[in-house]
Point group: C2
Chain length 280, copies 2
């Protein structure tokens, strides 16, 4: 086998398995056992191939702190398969509990299904300079983590109760339309959130009370919610408590609805069909 | 540029960005625009390079349902950097709350830090034929999801309360030594867990009451806990309520301890230094 072919395979493998991370050029050259000039030529080729094929951007940073970073394009095919599987699974009649809830906890905790939805939300909000992805416990956590991972940012957990284990915290009560009761939400004072631009992510949105309460609580920390993304939203009530949100799926709830009661939202359909996720 | 170089880059990129997933040979050939015989030659080369470099296994499945699957080796270097960062961050005096807890929620919710620890636990338990990775809400969730992702399995959420939204469920009360109180744990009857081999994962283990309660609750569903993995354990009490567990880090708690009070456990040190994670 040619040395160059070997290097191209290893270089591609390294970049693709470290998405969003800067690799130092000197370090990469050492790994591959080549001079930096050879590495530069290889990098040029890998970049050209990946960018022409629409697989992502290979960005080179020059100088002493120089390096190279691969930013993959979201994998539309895989995201499309996940959206289709969510729709099939959620339209199964045994997903409805006797109380009229849509059971989806098992699916939310399956990385194969939830990670692509996080990539979808990350693509939607990539232009909003998100610093943190917040959610409130519990079921929205996997989606928030997947979105945070795809954006290369930390997630932030809003708690339901004060926790002794987190030191002093700030709390807020609000009415949740989804659970038909007063809920509470709290955040430790030591949370590293001051001044951040926050994307709020949850599994489910009905009236938007939880999202609004999160925005209020984060406001107390001088943080600002710059977007709201959820997996499933209901069309009712039409007027939500927040100015804007983006849902991946829409659920027409109500016992009189025949399946399919879950479908993808219009922006998801056009994002999957067309191309750019920003003009939806 | 040579066509073959282009194909090698794209083939490597596809395999590495779909870890653990089988790619159909016909589908891959179509993507790369080559005949299946050409693809086979390229695959042989990619396989040889990646396997010789110790980056993972490229397994080919023959026949009509045939395909190829890349199973990456855990990235010891990245895991080692993450372990070192956990130790540095947790040994900072401002991590101790006035009540003597170790605050780590913000770090647990940072994918860059928690994902490598999930890979570390997955490497430790990869031989136990794990079907599900269970945790109890809330702070162990990111580690459980990361471990589940690395094992290619779903995670399973044990709730603190019964949830109306999940239909009927089974509950259990137990004494938690970490929080000094009676806790409760419940699981929806519709959870797809019957007969499964379960890895229990949590952020913190002291006496092991939570892990034992999880094993009891899962036992009611005919599921069996085949391993317990946690991020941080305390040496006291020396006698735990469970027969075996594997912690990544050890925390000598107590106000009289000077830092560093957190360090890696012996099996992690030898796994990082040596090689195989199974003979620790």
């Amino acid at each position: 086998m040619h040395d160059r072919q070997r290097r191209l395979v290893l270089l591609t493998q390294y970049l693709v398995s470290h998405p969003g991370e800067q690799a130092g050029l000197a370090d990469l050259a050492r790994r591959l056992g080549v001079a930096k000039s050879t590495l530069s030529e290889d990098l040029l080729l890998v970049r050209q191939v990946l960018e022409e094929a629409g697989q992502g951007q290979v960005a080179t940073q020059l100088g002493a702190q120089g390096g190279v970073t691969f930013r993959p394009e979201p994998d539309r095919e895989r995201i499309g398969r996940a959206v289709a599987e969510w729709i099939t699974r959620l339209n199964s009649p045994d997903r409805l509990t006797p109380e009229g809830f849509l059971y989806m906890t098992d699916l939310l905790f399956t990385p194969r299904l939830v990670d692509p939805m996080g990539e979808l939300l990350a693509a939607r909000f990539q232009d909003r300079e998100v610093g943190l992805v917040a959610t409130v416990e519990t079921k929205g956590i996997p989606l928030a983590l997947a979105t945070a991972r795809a954006l290369g940012r930390p997630a932030l957990l809003l708690r339901r109760d004060n926790r002794l284990s987190e030191g002093s915290s700030l709390s807020l009560n609000y009415f949740s339309g989804s659970s038909h009761r007063i809920q509470s939400m709290s955040l430790a004072r030591r949370s590293p959130v001051r001044g951040q631009r926050v994307l709020f992510v949850d599994d489910f949105l009905k009236a938007g009370g939880t999202a609004r309460a999160a925005a209020d609580l984060l406001g107390e920390f001088d943080a600002r919610v710059v977007g709201v993304g959820v997996l499933v939203a209901t069309p009712d009530p039409a007027r939500k408590l927040i100015p804007e949100y983006w849902a991946c799926l829409e659920w027409r709830e109500g016992a009189e609805e025949p399946p399919p009661w879950v479908r993808e939202t219009p922006w998801v359909r056009s994002w999957l069909e067309a191309g750019s996720g920003t003009e939806a």
